[in-house]
């Protein structure tokens, strides 16, 4: 007997990352086209890449949701209908929208299901009812909403609900921050967020307020969300989809987070509980990707003082991606694109799509022309010995010496 588990929704900042996320277990991915999304700096996908991405996803029983979650200006809307028609033609599974004008445009020109983006900050039952009337089928609830509240919203509205389970957090109510717009000339609600909330600020009490103090602080920066410990509650409360943040993040991040949460959900599906010896290793795996200090956000209780990441931005990571398997040459070798340097004799790990990492030491390093290297560097293609179970798009990583 299998037990109900939510959908796992992973980020796909590029076509490659879409394939990586799905290969590592995501049930669905979200990605952007070249316009209309909130990540202007991400690679995003061209028309052909979207088409290929949808085919790849559907062949692997996964779904593709395309983000159209900018707050668009009139002139931006002109090109939207043609793009939406294209998305419908290639059978995209849903679009993620935050702007009422975009919701109406999508409804006018297509039958694509609409998911309300977290950018719309839908936080309560009445708000969800409004969006339901506007034609939305699923709500990506604001990050301020607890699991219990999300469950109530689902129950009272009959809408699907989606909550973030992992990744970076906006400190502001999403869609309610325009610092970048005014200080960097970049519209944060059209994809140009300059991450001003991660800056260090000198704060000074106003003389007439009785607060006389000056201090330097990263007071607006939020810790990252890590919800694996409350995964049982996500299931208990019937949250339909668990979203991993991070379209701008690396292949290693997309692969690792997809693999960990997917394995945990699979385990529950088979066993109906999380009393697994793997729980510790799942949590550990999530520490191996780049992250700020973790926190559980508002999932269980209102985020308090301990949710502020009061440190300068640093990349806390135990592992770094050193390569990506581009091709498996049957019974011969795997062709690996080097992403970070590694040396001959160094211990590496292959992250297979399922199961434990495969640890190995590189005996010798050479390219297809037979040139030998003591140390690789990005921009090389190297042949590495083939291990059982290794597949195209597998990630190879190494531990960083601390």
């Amino acid at each position: 007997m299998s037990h109900w588990v939510p959908e796992l929704l992973s980020p796909a900042g590029s076509l490659e990352k879409l394939k990586v996320s799905i290969s590592y277990g995501a049930d669905a991915v979200y990605c952007g086209g070249q316009k209309f999304g909130l990540r202007s700096a991400a690679d995003n996908l061209t028309y052909q890449e979207l088409e290929e991405g949808v085919s790849f996803a559907h062949e692997n029983n996964a779904k593709v949701f395309v983000v159209l979650n900018s707050f668009l200006h009139d002139q931006d809307l002109d090109e939207l209908p043609a793009f939406v028609s294209f998305l419908e033609e290639i059978s995209v599974d849903a679009v993620i929208v935050s702007d009422l004008g975009v919701v109406r445009t999508v409804r006018n020109v297509s039958n694509i299901p609409i998911h309300l983006s977290t950018q719309a900050s839908c936080l309560n039952i009445q708000s969800a009812r409004f969006w339901k009337k506007m034609g939305v089928q699923r709500i990506v609830l604001g990050r301020e909403v607890s699991l219990e509240e999300a469950s109530l919203i689902k129950k009272e509205t009959g809408l699907e609900v989606e909550l973030f389970i992992h990744g970076s957090m906006c400190m502001a109510y999403s869609g309610n921050c325009v610092i970048s717009n005014y200080t960097s000339g970049r519209d944060s609600n059209r994809g140009g967020c300059a991450h001003s909330c991660r800056f260090e600020y000198t704060l000074e009490g106003k003389e007439n307020s009785g607060v006389k103090k000056e201090l330097k602080s990263f007071f607006m920066s939020s810790k990252d969300l890590k919800g694996i410990s409350v995964l049982p509650d996500f299931i208990r409360y019937g949250i339909d989809s668990l979203k991993i943040e991070g379209r701008m993040k690396s292949h290693l991040y997309a692969g690792t987070t997809s693999k960990v949460y997917s394995e945990a959900l699979s385990y529950f599906s088979k066993n109906g509980h999380f009393l697994s010896e793997d729980l510790y290793s799942w949590k550990e795996e999530l520490n191996k990707v780049t992250h700020r200090e973790y926190h559980e956000g508002n999932l269980v209780e209102k985020a308090g003082v301990d949710s502020i990441y009061s440190e300068r931005e640093t990349e806390e990571k135990e592992f770094v991606i050193v390569g990506l398997v581009l091709q498996v040459i049957h019974e011969n070798f795997m062709l690996v694109e080097v992403r970070s340097s590694f040396s001959s004799g160094e211990e590496l790990e292959i992250l297979p799509f399922e199961g434990e990492p495969i640890t190995f030491k590189t005996e010798s390093l050479e390219n297809v022309a037979g040139e030998k290297f003591e140390k690789t560097k990005p921009g090389l293609l190297v042949k590495l010995p083939l291990f059982e179970g290794v597949k195209k798009w597998n990630i190879i990583r190494k531990r960083i010496e601390q």
Binding site: S98, G101, V102, L123, N176, C177, S196, G379
Partner: protein, 392 residues
């Protein structure tokens, strides 16, 4: 001296009422409407329930139209508390309720369909289709729309010509940049009072002295400069704007009104009012909104794939030997002797004939297909991430 009241050439004025002693100066200055902020419902609210009711009644007696501010965003738990609170508020005293959260709007629509709504659309709503959605949804209950500060003049003109209800824009006041429900100051600044106000500056931005306030609803950051459209007031009126809002909450309000009251009432030299405002002012995006033009610089467009004739990407260059290309287009194969075009990340364009074509075992092949890495003759000046096209 008798000061003639400005008539019909300027939008009506509204502002926030915080205490009884402000009523007369506001009245004298020509304000028609006051916004009252209860601490339970309003972001900057300080009024307790009894104060709210008393002040609203006095405002009515004084001929000022009182508007109830309910502009906080609410998770479900807070919403339920607000619902209880609203049962104690005699809503009939107020001319309208001012809301932003779509939940608050929907609640008023279903529970209080006779109460006029002033809808705050200051966040987003930069296309008329979205505004039109609200107009259609609320019908006659929608008394007024508060428009976004990010709308440039040209767009404002268009919207104002189409919106069938009243409209409002911030004329003079603080620009809210950031709103979070989290308490970001109290961990460092303890104060017994309910509002903590500090200023912030960062070496990573040239702007200084961001006013930052924490209260029971969270933390709010404002722009160091105020927003001022007063010199365009008559132009805005001509475009169809009904109300200009004055946000004087950060000011010494009564002394300020003593100075600017006559100017406001006469409507002459209105732009001089800013000289008495504590913040320097900007006009924001009124002249133009170009906050998307820098996006082009956020990534290297030279390595962005163009779909037509695209083959793939260079993944290795071995001098005098080969260039390895990962074929990434399922609709385009590469064949021996094809003419290839390479577009480097630096912007150089090179061409080369695939006079040999090899697979990962360096065996000669006639054709390479999607997903494979193929090896073609070396050509100088290429680097990884170079985009490869079949020359048409």
């Amino acid at each position: 001296m008798i000061i003639k009241e400005a008539k019909n050439t300027l939008p009506s004025m509204n502002t926030y009422l915080e205490s009884e002693d402000q009523i007369l100066p506001f009245k004298k200055a020509g304000f028609k409407e006051v916004i009252l902020e209860p601490r339970e419902l309003s972001r900057m609210g300080r009024l307790k329930l009894d104060e709210l009711i008393r002040l609203a009644r006095i405002a009515v007696k004084s001929g000022l139209s009182p508007i109830l501010s309910w502009d906080i965003l609410m998770t479900e738990n807070i919403f339920q508390k607000v619902e209880l609170y609203l049962k104690d508020v005699p809503l009939e005293i107020f001319s309208a309720i001012r809301v932003q959260d779509p939940g608050a709007v929907e609640f008023l629509k279903s529970k209080y369909p006779d109460i006029p709504i002033h809808l705050i659309l200051e966040t987003g709503h930069h296309n008329f289709e979205s505004i039109s959605g609200w107009i259609g949804h609320l019908g006659v209950q929608l008394k007024r729309i508060v428009l976004s500060l990010e709308l440039p003049k040209k767009t404002l003109q268009l919207f104002l010509s189409k919106i069938p209800c009243e409209t409002e824009l911030l004329g003079l006041g603080r620009i809210l940049l950031f709103y979070t429900p989290r308490n970001l100051l109290s961990p460092s600044f303890s104060l017994k009072e309910e509002f903590i106000e500090v200023t912030g500056a960062s070496s990573e931005t040239p702007h200084k002295d961001f006013p930052i306030i924490e209260n029971r609803h969270g933390t709010f950051m404002y722009h160091p400069k105020g927003h001022n459209l007063l010199e365009h007031a008559s132009e805005l009126k001509g475009m169809g704007l009904n109300f200009l809002r004055f946000d004087l909450r950060g000011e010494e309000c009564i002394p300020l009104l003593e100075k600017v009251g006559p100017i406001l009432r006469s409507g002459i030299n209105l732009s001089n009012v800013k000289d008495y405002f504590s913040q320097k002012c900007i006009q924001g995006f009124f002249k133009a909104n170009k906050s998307d033009v820098l996006f082009k610089k956020l990534k290297n467009h030279r390595i962005q794939r163009k779909d037509e004739n695209y083959l793939g990407e260079v993944v290795e260059v071995v001098k005098k030997n080969y260039v390895a290309v990962l074929l990434k287009n399922p609709k385009e194969n590469v064949s021996l002797n094809d003419e290839l075009e390479f577009k480097t990340p630096e912007g150089k364009v090179k061409t080369q004939k695939a006079y040999f074509l090899r697979n990962a075992l360096l065996e000669d092949v006639e054709m390479g297909t999607h997903g494979e890495v193929v090896f073609v003759p070396h050509i100088s000046a290429l680097s990884v991430r170079t985009a490869v096209y079949k020359k048409s």
